[in-house]
Symmetry: D2
Subunit: 137 residues, 4 copies
């Protein structure tokens, strides 16, 4: 595996009523939606929209592991930043670091292992896609 | 179209944190989840699970119209009853009446038009399925 | 009540995995989330963020009625526009028209009646807020 | 901290359209909803419904950490079992183990750290509630 020292991808998200719960804060599971949006936008910015991935032998990335820490709550109308960076790339998997921040303070963070699959089976990440993540190109 | 005087199907649902919003009540869009569960369970009780429907030439029912009234809010931990009854059956569509109740009081109600589709196109509801809804069998 | 001939408010939304269902399309209830975001952003653009509304004697707008038509499905990665316009303003309620479009084609539309409430009861919409919607200012 | 050798609490959940995504499987974040329902029902079975907890000086349990593994996908109509057991009880926190199973096979599992809070601050878990979890009563 290779350590990647790269700049984190940033994506801004607004908190709506749908994201909150009766505790008056963002419902914990919804941070996973925010993080998924962050990963999707990072892929899109690398030219890897879902369509492009699917066209690559039906490639999809699925979440295998997720270690989450919830530090501080977000509330309605908050403007959050989702940071995503590639920590490691293995054969068929990648480890990402993600953080959800408000005004520079970390609200939630996660280490996420995603696996490339095609036709239901783990698949080696193609070299050119690997290069994109490594910033070789 | 045919008026059907039948007994409403009943399905019980518990309200969890995920269903609520920062207003301290069930988020309005989530009543549509409750109603969809009610319709799915009515179909299942008629022997029309998704698998059985799919096996019928890939048949699915999709929502075309929905007229909703929100009367009273549900809150965390409420035990709700979703009532579903068939109001009318047309060629490729059905009109259902649905109500979400708590302790006999109506919280939300809807008239729902669903359409049978297969391969993306409206499809005539098969005679035996029609009979099930009409209570002929 | 007063007819308002105004320009529709527009808000752009991206479709993510969380919005889709196993039918490969956006799950019908999630259009209500999109429409709620559209209404919230229209209010924000009028200077009526949730904070500002709450500061007005704890004012909130809740959905009382919603008549929905689902015309065409949206899919993953679609970029949608939510249009919102004020159709009528009554004493404590407003009727809004909303449409979700993709590339100019209407995917879903709704007539939405929202009611101003404070402390759980319907409340007359304050004159200055009414003016904002009427475009008097 | 104290190891607790107890029987896992079990709660059954049906998979509906709302739970799935365009990949044809249950969307990963929705397992957190299933697990939250399992925790809530475990508390309820111990006599600790949200109302009872709130009446205890406004006590709530919030999720602080969650280490998740996603093994196999669930699909529409699956009947799942959520297992929940108390692994450790600290002063203001508890560690739970949770598993989502289908026909005895583990689909997803998690270690969850929840913290008792009241008025926004961590609060020592009352002795009688601790006893309930320890099975002393």
């Amino acid at each position: 595996m290779t350590e990647i020292a790269g700049k984190a991808h940033e994506f801004t998200i607004r908190v709506y009523w749908e994201d909150t719960d009766a505790g008056g804060i963002v419902y914990h599971a919804n941070y996973l939606n925010f993080m998924e949006r962050g990963r999707t936008e990072m892929l899109r910015d690398l030219g890897l929209g879902q369509g492009a991935l699917q066209a690559r032998d039906g490639l999809t990335f699925v979440v295998r592991r997720m270690d989450l820490v919830f530090d501080r709550p977000a509330v309605l109308d908050d403007l959050l930043v989702v940071e995503t960076f590639v920590a490691e790339i293995g054969g068929a998997s990648m480890t990402l670091g993600q953080r959800v921040l408000k005004d520079g303070a970390v609200l939630a963070s996660a280490t996420v292992v995603i696996v490339a699959i095609a036709e239901g089976k783990a698949k080696r990440i193609p070299a050119d896609i690997r290069s994109l993540f490594l910033g070789d190109e």
